[in-house]
Symmetry: C3
Subunit: 277 residues, 3 copies
């Protein structure tokens, strides 16, 4: 019995996700279906790429990740399936797998073989008619190479802004979450005592590893300046703004028990930097 | 192991849906639970009827579809269960199964036998106390006829507006989805080359099949006029308004990578027509 | 195969809940995952405590209830796991289990044993790194006492306002649901003919059982006064305000097919009382 995750921009008000799940269970009976999110902003491929990257590592080996953020449906963008050492990915070839591809060795195919689609394929809902069946067949044990011919030229998004120098790192806000926490492109960090070890995210061009003593860093974002990187929200007073390392290993700007995105008026694409002294 | 889908107007902020799932899993252990949607507008029976109709066909044979949009709970509306050739349906007898009934031969019973309810039945939450147990017992293999006496006078909603003539079709907007795509009562279409074949939706009174050459149609909705039916969103430029055939086979008005409902100020019930020349 | 429910303030726009589910399925393969709600207001421990209390009773014996509303993550609040006669509970020790504890005999431990956590534990996402693994290990059959040492001093929230006297009951609004129904602290009621039997909710201090003849009660809330307790919404005219007994057994103020919270301008914490004559 295998796991299929679903990530879309369909929202939950319509029954589109439900129809996809019906298709999957009709092919891969008994598989476990897990929603990553269906609230990607409509057509926002980069947001989906990040959500997938931040969470796929937490699933057991063999999981199939289905992503349908597909502004080009019915056009000439390809339908693709990927295999890494531990997982499968299915979706449109529009860059949505960029960050996974930067992190792992992938084998990819174009989904072309008709018997792995629904019998009737609409021109407007490939999530249900093409991608869900392909994901389900992989979950049911069909080898990747059965779905279609290998390809080596997957679409890739331009990487987020991230420049790592010896005493300065410049990045951007990637995402504001439900709490208003601002997740940035600066990472991945891991704590080693009082030192935050930076191993630049796999999608960063020219990044280099770095160790930052938590108290010897100044973080600038918008009009504000924050002293030091805290281990967690609990190390700030309620209502105070802080920089910390979020659950996905990225530098995060937060207000303890508050909403940093709203209070600071910041959002995706805004610049953030760390100066180390 | 069988599948139970859930469609309600409960939203996801409260734990009402969760409680229903607890009840189902207590009776039909191991069944797969799939949410169609819980964001039906409160008490909007027609919206639920359409959401169900557009998606139930994609589930494997034997699936039980549980629908709880139930403004009459605690009054004298009946609790019913239906069986078609491939599926079961459970919910209040308020018209929510109208479109399924128009599409299929159904056998129906009134749910009256007490051992298929929870022991304590509230007067305000039959979703949890009456409908969820009935759906679960069907999923666990109890025959439909065990739940109560047969009935033949199911409530039916007035059909959506749809008039099909030789060179003009008049319908209405049924639903605006998350993308702002306006799904209309005009359908179901299927492409045959450049021709869109119309087989009037089963709930339409007096409709007749028709073939429309895609380029020889003018679509009018609100203040705008659209030339031709496109195969998909990708056949319009980004930002352009188009008429296409959506995933459920209905005529759909969309803006490529935009929100037609917002931009055009249109909504459910607004008139739409196609002139064929 | 066991059931794990999830209650958080994470919302559904981010993939945080998805990552937790990946962790659970990696440890307790094949368990059934049920969302209670992920839309608890950020950091609102009391709202989570109520949502959990109102729904956990509907799950089969052995279910594990995972609750992550955790403003103190990374601070010194403890991670705890509880066992009652029929269920398990896992979450932060911040009062979120107050109402369960008031209702049942519980055994509790502090989650300290490292092999029941993820190998790398972040300081900002214990839901994924500490609580999800603990819940999954319980679901997989690990005995409660393996997770850490027993504790007897669980944090408890101050109880909601509820004063029960012979001819007057004073309580407060606990929650407004999606329909705008105002669920109060006054309960739990059960109907016995025309009499509503009140057995004060387990968290009430000094409450006493009482029988209220439905027609001999006046309910006051905000500026309005309602005559009698109705059995269900259907006993009022569409648009009328009524007092009834909701699905969780609590006194509820509703407008039939309307939104009482909006129309009456009422919300959590507002006072409500019943006078019996």
């Amino acid at each position: 019995m295998s796991i299929v995750t679903l990530t879309t921009d369909f929202g939950l008000a319509d029954a589109y996700v439900g129809a996809m799940k019906g298709v999957i269970l009709g092919i891969a009976s008994g598989s476990d279906l897990v929603d990553l999110t269906h609230q990607i902003a409509p057509h926002n491929v980069r947001e989906a790429a990040f959500a997938l990257w931040a969470s796929y590592r937490y699933f057991p080996s063999g999981t199939v990740h289905l992503v349908v953020v597909d502004p080009g449906v019915g056009g000439d963008r390809r339908a693709v399936a990927l295999r890494t050492a531990t997982a499968y990915f299915v979706g449109p070839d529009n860059g949505v797998f960029s960050y996974v591809k930067a992190s792992e060795t992938v084998a990819a195919v174009e989904i072309l073989v008709r018997c792995y689609r629904l019998q009737h394929v609409s021109d407007t809902f490939h999530g249900r008619d093409v991608f869900a069946p392909a994901a389900a067949h992989l979950a049911a044990g069909v080898p990747l190479t059965q779905l279609g011919p290998p390809i080596t030229d997957l679409q890739v998004l331009p990487p987020p802004q991230l420049a790592v120098r010896a005493n300065r790192i410049v990045g951007e806000v990637l995402h504001a979450d439900r709490f208003g926490n601002l997740i940035t492109s600066i990472g991945q960090f891991e704590w080693a005592g009082k030192t935050a070890r930076l191993t630049p995210v796999p999608w960063a061009a020219g990044g280099r590893p770095l160790e930052i003593e938590a108290t010897r860093a100044t973080i600038r974002i918008g009009d504000i300046e924050l002293a030091g990187i805290r281990r967690s929200y609990a190390q700030a007073e309620v209502g105070d703004t802080l920089a910390t390392i979020g659950g996905s290993g990225q530098l995060e700007i937060a207000i303890r028990e508050g909403n940093a995105a709203k209070a600071l008026g910041l959002r995706t694409g805004d610049s953030v930097d760390i100066t180390i002294y």
